[in-house]
């Protein structure tokens, strides 16, 4: 019940938001869409991940779900809080892909500079999730 009342109280549509926040929500949605589509393409097509047949399909589907959610958040009013589920999801996909890439490097002969860099770039969404976590805890106290 408390969750329902909290949801009713928080801004539900773009017009409910302060004017300076509206474009910010749309821009963050578009940025997350780019990340999610990039993750989906990486998990689907990266040569290193060829060995993980079921895993990369699942990761691609999850990343595309995030991408669709973020496109909807950008263009359809009423979804400013969708990052509450898309952020954990994209962070999970990112960490899983990172771990799979390390295993793949092991299977493919060992870590190289480019493989380390590629895996680190894949971790970017998870880093954003950490930023949100720190923001909740430290930067935005009441």
């Amino acid at each position: 019940m408390a969750e329902f009342r909290r949801a009713r109280r928080t801004p539900r549509t773009l017009s409910d938001l302060p004017k300076n926040l509206r474009p910010l929500y749309q821009v963050t949605s578009i940025v997350w869409t780019f990340y999610a589509v990039g993750l989906a393409l990486t998990t689907l097509g990266a040569p290193l991940l060829r060995f993980a047949v079921p895993g990369r399909i699942v990761l691609t589907v999850l990343a595309l779900i995030v991408a669709i959610g973020m496109v909807l958040r950008a263009v359809v009013p009423g979804r400013p809080e969708w990052t509450r589920w898309t952020l954990p999801l994209v962070a999970g996909v990112s960490v899983t892909t990172f771990s799979l890439l390390l295993f793949a490097a092991n299977f493919a002969g060992g870590l190289t500079t480019s493989r380390v860099g590629f895996a680190a770039l894949i971790l970017t969404p998870a880093a954003f999730a950490c930023v949100h976590y720190l923001g909740e805890k430290v930067v935005a106290p009441r």
Partner: protein, 50 residues
């Protein structure tokens, strides 16, 4: 199980742990912060998330 399958299972476990932690921990922090501020039902919290 083959090595490839083990790799996927272990990676999936890391991913699930990330999802649970990143979804649950901020809510717990918010709830604790609400309770410390005397806001039992969280209705005084007008902050939004990006």
């Amino acid at each position: 199980m083959t090595e490839a399958l083990w790799a996927q299972v272990i990676s999936g476990f890391f991913g699930l742990a990330t999802i649970v932690i990143s979804a649950y921990v901020p809510r717990r922090i918010n709830r604790r912060r609400d309770e410390e501020a005397g806001d039992r039902d969280g209705l005084d919290d007008d902050r939004t998330r990006l």
